[in-house]
Structure formats: C-alpha cells, structure tokens
C-alpha cells in the first residue's frame, strides 16, 4: 500500500518536462516551480484527507509541520495525483479547502440566547450540555408515546427532531442515528432530500 508522495510527483513532473519544455525565457520554469514547491513543503508531514464539499470524493494530501510552539501548522492542501477518481485535480472549492480549514471566522465558544433575549451570551460547554440534556429529557417526557390510539406499542418521542450533517463521516452519522433512535426520536433527517 504505497503512496505516491508529493515529492515523487514533483520530481516525476520535472523529469518529464525538464528536457523539452523550456520556456520562452530559455530556462525551465517547471523546474523552478518544483523547487519552489519543495521549499514550501520541506520537512512537512503528509496526511490524507478527502474534499469536504461535493461527492466526487477528491482525495487530498495535507502537508503539516509542527511549529516551534508545538502546534500543528497546515502548510498546503492539494489533490492526490494517485487517486483513480480524480488523478489529482481539484475545483476552485477543493483548491481553497485550506481557507476553510484554517478560517479565523469560526465560533470560538458556546453561545446561548435566552427566550426573548436580543443578544448572545458566552457560556461554558457544561452549561449548554446540561441545559440541552435537560431540554431533551423534558421534551421527551412530555411528548413520548408508548402506545398509539390503536394500542400498538410504538415507544417514540414526537417532540424532538434531529437533522445532520452531510459532512459527517460515516462513523459519526452512524452514531448519530443510533443515539437518536435510542432516545426514541423519529424525526431524523439529513441533506439527501433537500
């Protein structure tokens, strides 16, 4: 199960074009480009990802380096040239995946808006998890149906809905459906219909 690394690919590309594809300036731009890319990813670790947008399933190679302060630094994301699905190509969305990965526009801590409030309040994870768990239990208790009008055992909760995540991995999605059905939730939905 070997993989064609980015460096191999650059070398292959450079070797394949270097002898014939000279630029109008009389020197080999492909080689210069390869050297530049080498510098950008020198010493980087290569990891595998898949594009988070549409469902072509474009394989990504992510290059990371550990910064002096010990944090992981993402240097570059690009298409994996070895993929039989893509042969390394990416669209504008996949090609800018790094901007999504490293966005500074994220919500940085849990937020709460009380009934009728006009602004968010910054709160802790424990606050939201306890409060939402309390709501789930109360709504479940209020809307749980053990038997329907015909006397059928149905054991369902009619007052809670869950919708999620076309960018969930299979494993997260599987856990979500299992936990929700465990709670008796029947209104379960995702992006497939919409």
């Amino acid at each position: 199960m070997g993989t064609l690394t980015r460096r191999d690919f650059i070398k292959l590309t450079a070797a394949g074009t270097g002898s014939v594809a000279l630029s109008a300036l009389g020197f080999d731009l492909a080689h210069a480009q390869a050297v530049k890319q080498e510098l950008r990813i020198a010493g980087a670790a290569e990891m595998h990802s898949v594009c988070p947008y549409c469902a072509v399933g474009c394989a990504l190679i992510a290059y990371t380096r550990t910064a002096p302060d010990g944090t992981a630094q993402l240097l570059q994301i690009e298409g994996n040239p070895d993929s039989p699905i893509t042969e390394g190509r990416l669209c504008p969305k996949g090609a800018t995946a790094m901007q999504l990965a490293t966005s500074v526009r994220r919500v940085d801590q849990p937020l709460y808006r009380a009934s009728g409030a006009t602004a968010w309040q910054k709160v802790t994870w424990d606050f939201v998890l306890d409060r939402v768990a309390g709501h789930i239990k109360e709504s479940r208790d209020r809307t749980f149906v053990t038997e329907d009008a015909k006397g059928n055992v149905v054991n369902r909760c009619d007052g809670i809905a869950f919708a999620g995540g076309a960018t969930f991995s299979n494993e997260e999605g599987y856990l979500a459906t299992k936990l929700m059905r465990g709670l008796g939730v029947v209104f379960i939905e995702q992006q497939a219909r919409v």
């Binding site: 919500v107 709501h135 789930i136 809905a161 995540g165 919409v194």
Partner: protein, 812 residues
C-alpha cells in the same frame, strides 16, 4: 450511482438530465470528457462518446456537449417517456435482456388500469392510491405468471407499450418545449444503445429529484436503461451525482426517518415482532429462479443490528428488544419537522451541520416554525442563518421565545473517519489538525448529551427509559467514542469467535452476530480498515488488472467492494459479456471473474436452477412495472404544482394527484401562486465557486462570486427594460429575492402547449450570514433563494419542489 465516476469513461452515449456536472462536479466531469475524446467510444463507428445535455439552462456542460436540449423544468418524464415510446414502437430495445432480465413478461392482474391521468385505486379523500391492483397474476405457489413471447395483452411489456404510446414526438415537444427535430435526433442515438455492443449512461442530480414527481423522474430514466439493457454494465447505469461530501454515506447509515442502516425499513406501528416486521418489509420470492437475496436475509440483517444496539438486553426471548425501536406515527421527513412545529407539536430541533433557514423551502414559513420551538440547537463551526434566525431580517428577537444554543463544532479536517462518494467508494481521511479553540466533535457532543440524558433518567426516572439505559455505548470512553471504534461497529463481528466479519453473508438471525450496517460489513475485516487503501493510478497494470477502471485496492466500495451494482446483468444468460470489449463480470467455466460478482461466485449459469440476475428483489429481474412507489406503477408526466400550463395529457389531473400538500393537510391558508399573478417559471441551482452556504465563510470563493444574482433571458429582459446589472425583484406567493440581474442567452423562450414560456434561474448560495452579507448588509436582507420555493412534497420521498415554481419579475 449504480456505477462510479471513473466508469463514465466507458460509455458511448451520455445523457445528462437535471445536472450540470461541468460546473457542479467539475472534477468528476473529466470522465465524461475522456469518453468524448476516446475514439473507440460513441454511436456508429465510434469517434468519441456523444454527450446530450437536457437542461433549462445552457451551461458549461452544454458548451462541450454534442447537443443541448432546452427543456422546461420538471418535464423529464415526458422526455424519457418519449424515448421509451420511440424504442418500443421501433423495436430498438435489447430484446434478450428485456425478455429475460426484466419483468416485461410478467402478467399483471385484471383490475389495473390508467385513465385520464389516474391509475386504478385512487382515493380522492386521502389523495392516495390503494395499490392492490398494481400487482401480478400469480400461480398456486405465489409465483408470477409470465409470457416470454411478450404478446399477452396483460403482460408488463404490452401495458408499458400502451402507456407510453401517448408520448409521441409531438406531445413530448408540446410538454417539454424541445423541438421535435432535436428530440428525434437524440431518440435515434438512444435507440442505437439497445445494441449489446453499445452502452449508454444516464447522469442526473437534484434537477431531477427536486420535484413533486422526483421519484418517478428518476424511475423513467431507469426504465429506459432497462429496456436498452444498460443496467449492470460498465459504462451504463443510473448515476446520481450527489452534492455533499458524505450525503451518500449518511443515507447508507440512515440519518433518515424512514430507514435503518443498510436500507432496512423503519418498523411501523402494528409490527409487534421481528417476524411481523420482516413479513411487511422483506420482498417475497416471485419466481422459482429468483434468489431474493435481500428478502431472504432481511431477518439476519435486522437481528444483527438489534443485537449490536441493545446487546445483552436483546435476547431471543424478548424478540431482540424489537419493541425498543421507535415506530413513527407518520411521515417524519424534513418538511414534516417544520410542519409539526407550525402545528405546535415540535418542541426542540437539533441541527448539526444543516441550516433550516437557507434550505427552506418557503423560508418565511420555516422561520415561523423555528420561532414556535421551545429550543433550537445549532452545531456548526460557523454561525448559520439558523443560529442567527432570531435576529435575522424582519425578525423581532423580543417576540421570539425559542431558546437558541450555538455549539462550536469541528469540521472535516479536525477529525478522521470515512466519506462515501457518489460512486459508493468509501475513503478514509486522517485527522490533520486538532480542534480549533473550544470546538468539539459533533459525535462527542451527541455522545456527551446522550450520557447526560441517561444520567438524568437514572436519577429522576421518566418516560420509558429502558431503550436509553440499554443502548450499547461501551466505547473506551463513552463520551468520546473513536471513529475507528465506530467503523468496527458498523462492520460487525461474530460474537462466538470474536472476529470481525469479512462479509454480510456471515450474518445470522440467532443473536450470535452483530453488525451496525450490513452493507458496510467487509469494510473492516480482521486484516484491517480497507477504506485506507491507496493503490492508485501510478501503477495501472498492477492496480487496475481488468483495465476497466475498478482499481479494487483504492479505498473500498459497498457492497463487498463491488464497483458496478447489478453486474450479473453485464453478461448474457451463458455468462458471456454483452460486449467483450467492456466486460463487467464473466463466467470462466468454473467461476465468475472481473468485478466482485453480484452473484454466487461459483454458480454455473448453465445450471437450470441458476438464479436470475437481479438478486435484490423478489422478481429476480429489473422492474419495468412496480407497486413499490406511491404514485404509480409506471412514471407519468404531471405538471409541477405551480405551472403556467395545464397538463397537455390530462388537464383535469394536471399536477400529481398524490403530491403532499402540507398547508392544505394542516388547514393552513394556500401558499401557491397562479400564472396570472406569477407568469414566469423559476428554477434554482448551484455555482462552481460555492457549496450551499458554508462557502460564504471562505474569502477566496466570496471573491470569485461575491454577490447574489439572478439569470434573466435576454428576450424577457428586453420586454421588462431590464439591463445587465440592474437590481431586480423576483417574487412568488411566498416571498421575494432582490438581487442583480444577469441578462443572458443561457436562458431562452420555450414553446409549450402553444404558449411562450420564460424561465428564470436563481443560484441558491446567498443569505444574511457570511462575508458577502457583511460586505452588503442592506442588500443581503433579501438574498435567500428559498424564500421563493413552495412547501410541497413528492408523494414518495417528500422532496420539496425546489426546481419548478412560479414567480414575477420587476426592475427595482
């Protein structure tokens, strides 16, 4: 997809309907172009595959296609019906395949009929069908009677021929707006694909599904493919281009009200035992040579799931805790959630990576629904139009009592796990970065919430806590399950040996095996996680031994690493490929070779007892006629619920008589417009540079497509004195969009039922949240495309009619 992305290169003819792959799936589109540039492919003597793009808009897909047919949105049943009629009337179907691999020869019961737009069994009071007459005439053993000469007037073939005889080129043109001459050119190319040595693929996206006839729109394409003998073959099939990274996998894993993992039906009220359930849900064997693999094994898959979920609490004596599974009281899909909220019956909604406000349909109605909730949880890396709904345009926060929680969650690159692409290839990804800031993984948040709720029930009791207490969450850390642990759980294991399964064939119905999702069994056998394999194109000779593009050691595809579904149908009855140059699987005298066979690997096709090719249904063959859908055994053209014309086939039953009208059913006022007030047809779509709404947070992509716009055909713009770049207001009965006009030749007039019809195009990506909204705070108040769309659903899937509705247009 029945097939997969790379396989599209194997086609001679590519029909693209309700899709724009060059812009919406550009990297996948390379395989269309490879087919086009391959001189060994194509109709006649070859010279390259032909691409036919049938779409309301001329797009970059059209630009490289051999023909663009401008079609009125939502009328593809008429187009495919016309093609079916052409090949049946001219005997251009694949005769051997149709006789032996489809139910063309099956005899339908007396009592089935179709008249004036209604199939037999219509119940106007409930807007539904009693489907009793849509079934076969059976013998004493319960097997369907057949006439292999296809001459019996009650056989499926004759009924199909009669049904589609109305879809003449004239009628097709009158409904769709496609000129007859263009239609006939395509029909002739399509007809050639009934030859065994030719093959066509049909590729579609949500341009086909987002209609009140969506399920039948897809089915009409599938019927055409069965008649041409193109299902199960490399280069063939019905191929859905899915729009999100793991929408396929999350359907497989049943984040959907009506299914359990692996497409097992959700149990319904009245099913008291697993046996009751199997009796209702599993297909019955309808032919002595039908394997009926799914129906026969349904019980094993269900018991193995129950045993996985409730382990020690699931025993033979309590019917494997079948009573724990919730049984829905009615439809519980996307629109039903907001319908229940509007009725005051829904208390809380959890949105994890989805936004109700932007998705709609009918944003005003969805916002009202959100305002009626007691609580709303939004789990996302970024603010969304749902987390911010309470202070969005036109909302008064002080009047909205809904408590709102915004939980910052990680995104794809901060966790590992697998994505399943459109072609069912399951690819593992690494965790590349740690969670940013206080963000937590969605699955950890859900696991943590579950454990907290469980504890509350332990402390205080409450409504039937047993399913919560007994659900297995025995992960190394129950509030932080690893995705690797979950992948193993989906795969399943044998409880006697303790070993992970290599195939679902090992599943049993006695409680000695467990599997969270039977179709993923084999993904993670004892040898390891096969979705991590990456033997790719660097070495085609080694990694693609058949040369057909399967690359069997790149990732893993369900089921069992099969790359083309129904591949037994790629070979004739003797086991020889229909086209020796494009084999799927073939019988080599002792076993089936090629792709992973969809058939017993050593079953000799010459054996009189050999199974029929389609192992997943009771008939053992592909179904041209079926009672599985709620709106008809054959696809029929119905107008969109909002349409500028009456149905030319049956004006009295113009739209689908069983489309689900939520407002009407709930006693709310009608929210549909008429052509008198709203004379133009509108449709919605995506652009290359954006993906729904999340890309409003990505600066490069916002730079490329910074502002909402609508596409207006030149002729209509002239009529309305609208110039390129003017601000225009598009309104429907439900709401409005205000955006810049792009005046274009990409849209144009159609002649439909003797009338001139204009279509308008509206990209979906903008709203009141994101970088563009911050740049243009005033303008962004009316950018949500789904403010316009109707709250109405397909009878089967309850898919909203996002792609066909009526609007008015004004210059601002």
């Amino acid at each position: 997809m029945t097939n997969h992305w790379r396989d599209i290169k194997n086609a001679d003819l590519i029909l693209i309907n309700g899709a724009n792959p060059a812009e919406a799936h550009p990297v996948g589109f390379q395989w269309f172009m490879r087919a086009k540039l391959d001189p060994t492919k194509g109709p006649g003597a070859g010279g390259g595959a032909k691409l036919i793009h049938t779409d309301p808009r001329f797009t970059r897909t059209s630009a490289v296609s051999d023909m663009h047919l401008r079609i009125r949105t939502g009328t593809d049943v008429a187009y495919f019906g016309g093609l079916i009629n052409y090949i049946v009337q001219n005997s251009r179907y694949h005769a051997d395949y149709v006789v032996h691999y489809t139910n063309a020869s099956f005899i339908v019961k007396d009592g089935y009929s179709f008249q004036d737009g209604l199939f037999s069994g219509y119940q106007p009071g409930t807007r539904s069908y009693d489907r009793a007459t849509w079934s076969y005439d059976t013998d004493a053993k319960g097997f369907a009677k057949r006439d292999l000469t296809l001459q019996d007037p009650r056989c499926v073939f004759q009924l199909l021929k009669q049904h589609y005889a109305r879809y003449t080129p004239e009628v097709v043109s009158s409904i769709t707006g496609i000129p007859q001459a263009d239609f006939l050119r395509v029909a002739e190319m399509v007809a050639e694909m009934g030859r065994p040595d030719k093959v066509m693929t049909i590729v579609y996206a949500v341009g086909l599904t987002h209609h009140t006839t969506g399920t039948q729109l897809i089915r009409s394409g599938a019927l055409l493919q069965l008649l041409l003998g193109n299902i199960g073959r490399p280069g063939g099939g019905m191929n859905a281009e899915r729009g999100h990274a793991n929408i396929q996998g999350n359907t497989d894993n049943a984040i959907s009200w009506d299914i359990l993992p692996g497409y097992l039906a959700v149990p319904m009220p009245g099913e008291k035992t697993v046996d009751d359930y199997v009796k209702v849900a599993a297909a019955k064997k309808l032919d002595p040579n039908s394997w009926n693999f799914f129906g026969t094994n349904y019980r094993k898959f269900m018991v193995s799931l129950l045993k996985m979920w409730y382990r020690d609490a699931a025993t033979k004596d309590n019917d494997f805790a079948f009573s724990y599974l919730p049984k829905p009281g009615g439809n519980a899909s996307w629109m039903s959630i907001y319908d229940q909220a509007l009725r005051g019956k829904m208390e809380g909604v959890i949105l994890s990576g989805m936004t109700a406000t932007s998705i709609g349909p009918d944003t005003a109605q969805v916002l009202e629904a959100l305002s009626k909730l007691k609580w709303l949880v939004v789990m996302d890396p970024f603010p969304t139009t749902s987390s911010e709904f309470w202070h969005g345009p036109g909302m008064d926060p002080s009047k909205i009592q809904t408590e709102v929680f915004m939980l910052p969650c990680t995104h794809w690159i901060e966790k590992d796990g697998s994505f399943t692409n459109s072609g069912r290839w399951v690819q593992w990804k690494d965790q590349v970065l740690p969670p940013q800031g206080q963000a937590r993984h969605d699955h950890w948040v859900l696991a943590d919430l579950f454990q907290r709720v469980k504890k509350l029930y332990q402390q205080h009791g409450g409504a039937f806590p047993d399913p919560i207490q007994h659900l297995t969450t025995t992960y190394k850390d129950p509030v932080r399950p690893e995705l690797d642990e979950l992948a193993q759980e989906m795969n399943g294991r044998d409880l006697v040996t303790g070993k992970r399964l290599a195939t679902f064939a090992a599943l049993k119905d006695d409680g000695t095996t467990v599997s969270g999702n039977w179709i993923y069994a084999g993904m993670y056998p004892e040898s390891g996680n096969l979705t991590k394999r990456r033997d790719g194109v660097r070495n085609p000779a080694k990694n693609d031994p058949t040369g057909m593009g399967y690359y069997p050691n790149w990732a893993w595809s369900w089921p069992l690493n099969r790359r083309v579904l129904y591949n037994r149908a790629s070979a004739d009855r003797a086991g020889k490929p229909w086209d020796p140059n494009r084999p799927g699987i073939q019988w080599n005298g002792t076993k089936w070779v090629g792709d992973v066979p969809d058939y017993p690997p050593a079953m000799n096709p010459a054996d009189p007892k050999a199974w029929l090719p389609f192992i997943m249904n009771g008939e053992g063959v592909g179904r041209l006629f079926s009672n599985a859908l709620l709106d008809g055994p054959f696809p029929e053209h119905y107008e969109p619920v909002e349409s500028p014309v009456d149905n030319p086939l049956h004006a009295a039953t113009s739209a689908s008589p069983v489309a689900f009208l939520y407002d009407k059913a709930a006693g709310r006022p009608d929210r549909f417009g008429t052509a008198a007030e709203y004379p133009y047809v509108a449709t919605t779509y995506r652009l290359t540079e954006h993906e729904h709404y999340v890309t409003q947070q990505v600066p490069h992509l916002v730079q490329l497509q910074p502002e909402a716009f609508v596409e207006i055909p030149e002729g209509l713009a002239t009529e309305k004195a609208i110039k390129n770049g003017d601000m225009v207001r598009i309104s429907s009965k439900r709401g409005k969009v205000e955006a810049r006009a792009v005046v274009t030749k990409r849209l144009g007039a159609l002649q439909v039922a003797g009338k001139q019809i204009w279509q308008i195009g509206i990209p979906i990506h903008w709203g009141f949240v994101g970088i563009s909204a911050e740049l243009y705070p005033d303008k962004s108040q009316h950018w949500l495309a789904n403010a316009l769309t109707p709250f109405v659903g397909d009878a089967n899937a309850r898919t909203p009619e996002f792609k066909a509705f009526l609007v008015n247009l004004e210059r601002m």
